[in-house]
């Protein structure tokens, strides 16, 4: 198992390098001079040259890339053109907000998704099944901003039960967490249902029933343990997608997280900040995928014992 995990870890290194190279190259194919963009068109050539040298943009591209990659390995993503602060510093401030939002959304998605999936499987083809699966399909098909606006309208504006936006205190995260987690809850519910239905067909479930075990006992003690294996992997994968997908939710609810930082970077044409946010988020996604693989290997004895 450890050999498999080590192999998987090693496989991520070229992917990380590829991601860094791609982001670097993509942001350098933009036509025009960055210094001119920053200073405006009516500035003398001398000043443009000086700024280009200060930013290190007069060096060969491969030197710029090597400097960038070694810097990024040490956590140095450069300085934001627009905010004139280190990108590392900005990411450090923004990351906790995104983590809080993603974890809260994950809690919503897992609690609703797993509960709905179990009830739907137990009551297969019943009213509850159709109701929960209908909702899960709606969850998958609704844009995040739609869920966010509906919740803002009813919970914050009509009922005035929760804050409309902001990131102060636990209550301000409730609506954003539901908005962001709603979509993932749909996928989790569908996965839990199909996995549990498949497990309930297994011979060992019949054996447990023949031994006189009750329906609830069979589901909780025997079926769920195996049925939740793929769900756990999906949950680990979702954490990274929630972290990276918080862009819209953070923008709607004015949460100063990484997604909002990326949108600001685009509006301000701030290359180092955009590069930093995208690379940082991609590293988290890759780490999340790696964690999901390792978790699956640890949880599933068939993979754990495979040589």
């Amino acid at each position: 198992m450890f050999r498999n995990i080590a192999k998987r870890v090693l496989q991520t290194i070229p992917i990380l390098l590829g991601v860094a190279l791609l982001i670097f190259l993509m942001l350098r194919i933009i036509p025009g001079n960055v210094a001119t963009t920053l200073m405006g068109e009516h500035v003398n050539q001398e000043s443009v040259k000086r700024l280009t040298a200060e930013l290190g943009l007069d060096q060969p591209v491969y030197v710029q890339f090597l400097k960038y990659i070694f810097g990024a390995a040490r956590g140095d993503f450069g300085t934001s053109y627009y905010l004139n602060r280190s990108v590392k510093n900005l990411l450090t401030i923004a990351f906790p907000y995104t983590v809080k939002l993603a974890l809260a959304a994950a809690m919503v998605a897992w609690t609703i998704g797993i509960t709905a999936g179990i009830f739907a499987a137990v009551r297969k083809n019943g009213i509850l099944d159709h109701l929960f699966m209908g909702f899960s399909l709606l969850g998958i098909s609704m844009p995040v901003f739609m869920v966010a606006m509906i919740l803002q309208y009813f919970l914050a504006f009509r009922l005035q039960a929760l804050p409309l936006e902001g990131a102060v205190g636990f209550r301000s995260y409730i609506i954003p967490a539901i908005a962001l987690g709603w979509n993932s809850a749909g996928s989790i519910a569908r996965m839990t249902r199909s996995s549990l239905l498949e497990t309930l067909q297994e011979d060992y479930i019949d054996t447990a029933a023949a031994k006189g075990r009750g329906r609830v006992g069979i589901i909780t003690a025997h079926a769920l343990r195996n049925a939740l294996l793929p769900v756990v992997t999906m949950m680990a994968l979702q954490i990274s997608s929630l972290l990276s997908g918080a862009v819209i939710t953070e923008t709607i609810f004015s949460i100063p997280g990484i997604g909002r930082l990326a949108v600001q970077a685009i509006s301000n044409r701030d290359i180092p900040l955009l590069q930093g946010t995208v690379l940082f988020t991609t590293v988290i996604v890759i780490a999340g995928n790696l964690l999901a693989d390792c978790l699956y290997a640890v949880l599933d004895p068939r993979i754990r014992e495979a040589k």
Binding site: G18, P143, M149
Partner: protein
């Protein structure tokens, strides 16, 4: 005489067996089965066709232009003259919804076709050639799949710049081809070992002919399913970017942009942002149902996975 008749008897038996196993089904007969068995998929198809026709014939269906302003009737509630009311500039909401459908459907369908073609060609080459070609193509695909898609789309929009954002559809193929290539590659790998490919190889058929005449047609059912299931992602991605103000720019109209501008009036005129949001949800839901239905009849193996 016996010798002559026995092969035909064998062929008939094999055909009968294939028909019994459902292997003799053509795509046409499978689609016919879908139409008769899965009513939800049929209704979804009807919804998509209806919205597409409404988008195409929008100028005939509404007397207003999508950018036509009339400040005297700004922020009106639904009425006989304006069925869904008017926005903050007095533009007819229903008209903008109809014209917005053009962007959503176009951005959903065109880039998905491009990503399908790109992914299919690269997947076929990777699977058939193997070796370094396969390694290089699949590692690039891994890199693309590692990116959070919305962030990568934002970077591509940044590169295109504000002036070129009408080419919104350009971003999607860069991202989606990788998933398609993976599916096609895995199918090519198994088809490459099949007897008919071996037979074609042994009689000296050119590699390109084997790839495009013998292997590719077998990947088509999966590609149709992937096509239908990738469209909702492209539509949601476009609407999200327009919502963030990085996609379609005013005075153009897209459902995401309408939802964003309507958000300012959410408390007083919720219809302005909810109508385009519901439209997005309906189209995405319809494509999801259709994709599920097609998967059931065209690619039961993929469904089981």
């Amino acid at each position: 005489m016996d010798q002559l008749s026995s092969p035909s008897t064998e062929t008939l038996t094999a055909e009968a067996l294939a028909a019994e196993l459902g292997e003799a089904d053509t795509i046409g007969s499978k689609l016919h089965r879908l139409a008769s068995e899965n009513k939800l998929a049929v209704v979804s198809m009807a919804v998509i066709v209806f919205i597409a026709l409404a988008a195409v014939f929008a100028p005939l269906l509404t007397p207003y232009g999508f950018a036509e302003q009339d400040l005297a009737v700004r922020l009106q509630n639904p009425s006989a003259a304006h069925w869904l009311g008017t926005d903050e500039l007095g533009r007819d909401e229903l008209t903008r919804l109809l014209y917005g459908a053009r962007v959503s459907l176009l951005v959903g369908v065109v880039p998905t076709i491009v990503s399908m073609l790109l992914g299919a060609i690269l997947g076929l080459i990777a699977g058939f050639c193997g070796g370094w070609t396969d390694t290089v193509i699949m590692r690039v695909a891994d890199v693309m799949l590692a990116f959070p898609s919305l962030l990568l789309a934002l970077v591509i929009m940044y590169i295109l710049g504000r002036r070129h954002r009408e080419h919104l559809s350009l971003h999607s193929p860069y991202i989606d081809w990788a998933g398609v290539a993976r599916v096609v590659r895995s199918q090519t790998l198994s088809l490459r070992e099949s007897q008919y490919v071996e037979a074609a190889n042994s009689i000296g058929v050119k590699k390109l002919t084997i790839i495009f005449r013998h292997i590719f047609p077998n990947c088509v059912p999966s590609l149709i399913v992937l096509f239908t299931l990738n469209i909702p992602g492209a539509i949601l991605s476009e609407s999200s970017m327009s919502f963030l103000g990085i996609g379609v720019q005013p005075p153009g109209c897209s459902w995401g942009l309408m939802a964003d501008t309507g958000r300012t009036y959410l408390t007083s005129h919720p219809m302005l942002s909810l109508a385009p949001s519901v439209a997005i949800m309906l189209v995405v839901l319809a494509f999801n149902f259709l994709g599920d239905g097609l998967r059931d009849v065209l690619d039961p193996y993929m469904n089981r996975r």
